[in-house]
């Protein structure tokens, strides 16, 4: 089980801020994205956006990172603070 979070514009597009997903072992973040789209076909466009960032356990990471049980994954648009 991993926790998945969405922020800002992406959160609004998906109308979801957080959900939990049961994953097979050795699932990558890219594969998690596919699984999310499989479960919610209307998320396809928003999640396919090339500029989305992802974080694993609150640290920026690349989408080929492999997940473990109890991980926290987040997807969000490029940041605009400061």
């Amino acid at each position: 089980m991993v926790k998945v979070k969405f922020f800002a514009r992406l959160r609004e597009q998906l109308q979801c801020s957080e959900l939990e997903v049961e994953l097979a072992e050795s699932t990558s973040i890219a594969q998690l994205k596919h699984k999310l789209v499989d479960g919610n076909p209307n998320w396809q466009q928003a999640l396919a956006s090339g500029d989305l960032l992802c974080a694993l356990n609150q640290t920026l990471c690349s989408s080929d990172t492999v997940l473990s049980d109890n991980d926290e994954v987040a997807f969000f648009p490029p940041v605009t603070g400061g």
Binding site: F7, R9, D51, Q58, A74, V79, T80, G81
Partner: protein, 151 residues
């Protein structure tokens, strides 16, 4: 020291805290203060809403501060970022550096702001009467990271 907060801050208090080092060895203080601008390319805005990723925000800033501390000779570093709803001309962000020498203070302050703009999970939404919208990331912010890889 890093704070993510909805309440405003006093630049004066932060400045005085940067000054009070044991033995006056501080020669230079550089402060950056970011304010809400009341217009953008799309017309007037009423203010901003700032969303963040609680937990990761603090951690991401701490990593940037640590890198600055390893790279330059710094005495104190203070970062404050506000979240939630902010009106025009309100303070958004504070970065304050105390150092013996000005070059280190300037470089570290700008470095922290440049990375904060790219690597810290904060998002601005511009609030207007017509339609509120998320601010797009600027390519210029990505560009400004390049200088830090040169030396």
């Amino acid at each position: 020291m890093i704070s993510i907060q909805s309440q405003d801050f006093s630049l004066e208090d932060e400045y005085q805290a940067l000054r009070t080092l044991e033995n006056g060895a501080t020669g230079a203080i550089v402060i950056f203060s970011g304010l809400v601008r009341d217009f953008n390319d799309n017309g007037d805005i009423q203010g901003l809403f700032i969303e963040h990723y609680p937990g990761m925000t603090e951690q991401a800033i701490a990593q940037i501060v640590e890198r600055a501390t390893l790279r330059w000779s710094l005495q104190k570093v203070r970062v404050i970022h506000r979240i939630g709803e902010l009106k025009s001309n309100e303070q958004i962000v504070f970065v304050g550096i105390a150092s013996q020498h000005r070059a280190d203070a300037f470089a570290a302050c700008e470095f922290i702001m440049d990375y904060l703009k790219n690597d810290v999970p904060l998002w601005k939404k511009e609030l207007s009467n017509h339609n509120s919208q998320w601010v797009e990331a600027k390519t210029s912010d990505k560009q400004s990271l390049k200088r830090w890889n040169k030396s």
